[in-house]
């Protein structure tokens, strides 16, 4: 094996765990609140964080994009949120599902669980389930909160209320531990959501990132922008020897050589590290950059070489 690793892509992918830890910390800066059992109530919560992070987490430094979207859409004043959609489009184009792979606290949580040594299962055969998350996004995050309203025009945040396991993990559990009033309020809804959290935890141990793959509406939104994102995967056809190691290494069931900007790709870079010829790397910029990067990266090679 070549010992001389080079390139930002390699480094980023290798230090991904640390970047995820750092992002989780930045997303949840107000740690003392865990002990106090209160929430951070400053202006930082006007802006949403890129990942799925409940704003009812005592430490949360910003708003959850999905929670905020439902809050706006479900209020009696508005039935659509340009503000949140705008932020999500910007994030989607600027970073895409790189956010899932590097910045999302709940993604990291699932990955840590997956490190527990047990027998692991492939999700390849469960591919149809990956479309479920688009339904969650459309129905639970948008349609139901916006249109199933009460007599004063307010809708429920259906995703937060009935599905989101992050809300239980970061919100309900720490708050109810530190706060007896909230403990007294725990009811059937909590039991339901707690069971969902337990299922996601159990599944995360056996499968890689089950919530991201099948249910996450935020992941679904970013997935739609993966193809046009400035953050891309790049496969150098000249270097590729079609060994298939990248596809095997991919835990999101993507073949990067065929569809480098697949909706399921979370830019984790496992393929980059698996590639024996270093043909795969991250690329950041407008357009496809095919010609330019090829020439820039290996000016010694002719780009009309055969692709094997």
């Amino acid at each position: 094996m070549d010992k001389k690793f080079s390139g930002v892509s390699q480094t980023m992918s290798r230090f991904r765990g640390w970047i995820q830890a750092g992002a989780t910390l930045l997303t949840n800066l107000h740690l003392p609140n865990f002990l106090k059992g209160g929430l951070y109530q400053g202006a930082g919560k006007t802006v949403c964080v890129p990942g799925l992070n409940c704003y009812s987490c005592p430490a949360a430094s910003g708003a959850c994009p999905i929670g905020a979207f439902q809050a706006v859409v479900g209020s009696s004043k508005f039935s659509f949120s340009y503000y949140i959609t705008g932020i999500l489009i910007l994030l989607g184009v600027l970073l895409g599902r790189f956010i899932c792979g590097f910045l999302c606290p709940f993604g990291w949580f699932q990955e840590l669980l997956h490190k527990i040594p047990t027998k692991k299962f492939s999700t390849k055969k469960l591919k149809p389930l990956t479309y479920l998350k688009y339904a969650v996004l459309l129905v639970m995050v948008f349609l139901l909160p916006a249109f199933l309203v009460n007599d004063v025009g307010m809708g429920n945040p259906f995703f937060c209320k009935y599905l989101c396991p992050q809300g239980v993990l970061e919100g309900a559990i720490p708050l109810s531990l530190a706060n007896s009033g909230i403990r007294a309020a725990l009811g059937k809804l909590f039991t339901w959501k707690f069971s969902i959290l337990l299922s996601v935890i159990a599944l995360s141990v056996l499968f890689y990132r089950p919530f991201c793959k099948w249910l996450c509406p935020l992941g679904a939104f970013y997935a739609l922008f993966n193809r046009v994102s400035l953050f891309q995967m790049k496969v150098d056809k000249n270097k590729c020897v079609s060994c298939g190691k990248c596809a095997k290494a991919c835990k999101m069931d993507v073949d990067v050589t065929k569809t480098p900007n697949h909706t399921e790709c979370i830019r984790c870079g496992m393929c980059i590290r698996a590639c024996p010829t270093k043909a795969v790397c991250f690329r950041y910029g407008f357009g496809d950059g095919k010609d330019k990067t090829n020439v820039a990266e290996m000016p010694q090679k002719n780009k009309d070489n055969k692709e094997i």
Partner: protein, 318 residues
Amino acid sequence: MKMNRMNTASRLLALLLTTLVVLSLAACGTKGGDKTDGTSSEPKNAEEAVAMYNDLMAQENDILSENTELWEKVYMSADKGMALQEDGKNYGDFLLSTIESAKDQFTTDEMNLLQGEAEKIRDIENQLTLIEEKYPEVAQQSTDDAMSVPAGSDMTTPLDDGSMQKFPAFEGKDLDGNPVKSDDLFSGNAVTVVNFWFTTCNPCVGELADLDALNRELAEKGGALIGVNTFTLDGDEAAISEAKDVLTKKGATYQNVYFPSDGEAGKFTANIFAYPTTYVVDRNGNIVGEPIVGAITEKNQAETLQKLIDQALAADMG
């Protein structure tokens, strides 16, 4: 090689962080946990003393809230002239003597039950006195704690023993602009239920109709219910009209008040972060029991609220 080392490192990191998470959860756990155990042993430091104090208070309150009807009878027959709050007088002894003087009202079983419970209370009170003697700051501190995190509430729920928490005073207006003073409001009602809500809070709006029904029920018993919409503090015109709009649509006719956000009550409100939150306040302006967090449309929350109301009403009559 490098790959392997990296893998081990990331595993170690994962392990470390998981431990951290577990530990922090455990820390929270003990914080909540020491309320339920550690009853009779001596406290080692002031912090433990506070925890024990609160715990004992909670136990006492549990006893009193269990057989509400019987206790109400006891309170009713209590000697009206008898001061509850005499120095050194044990509340358990007071209950025992009251029970004794009213024994013709109870069956033998009831008598036994009441006497047993009152003796328990006497023991608890004795322990409380001990703690108070050793750590005089404790009683004070336990109320202070409650002040700083109102919804957090490791709040003590004593009955007439002088260490009750006052509901913060305010001078404000109702949504129609009529002046409202907290002193007059509380002293004019045997019990006042204060409901904190805000206009875009779905469950808060969902319970408005129930609260209106409760207000009518309370009116018959000499009590009242008021709402505090946190958006309307400082008299924000737009927020007031929105709040009124919602109240009208929900058919809620009870009084809603606002006050300055920089006052005592305003700061108290700023510390409430969970909505809706409902407080029960007695005639002396003291908060009865712990605040109800969450909508009272939930059956068990409604029951808890009713218990607190009954407790306040009974104390007012006794």
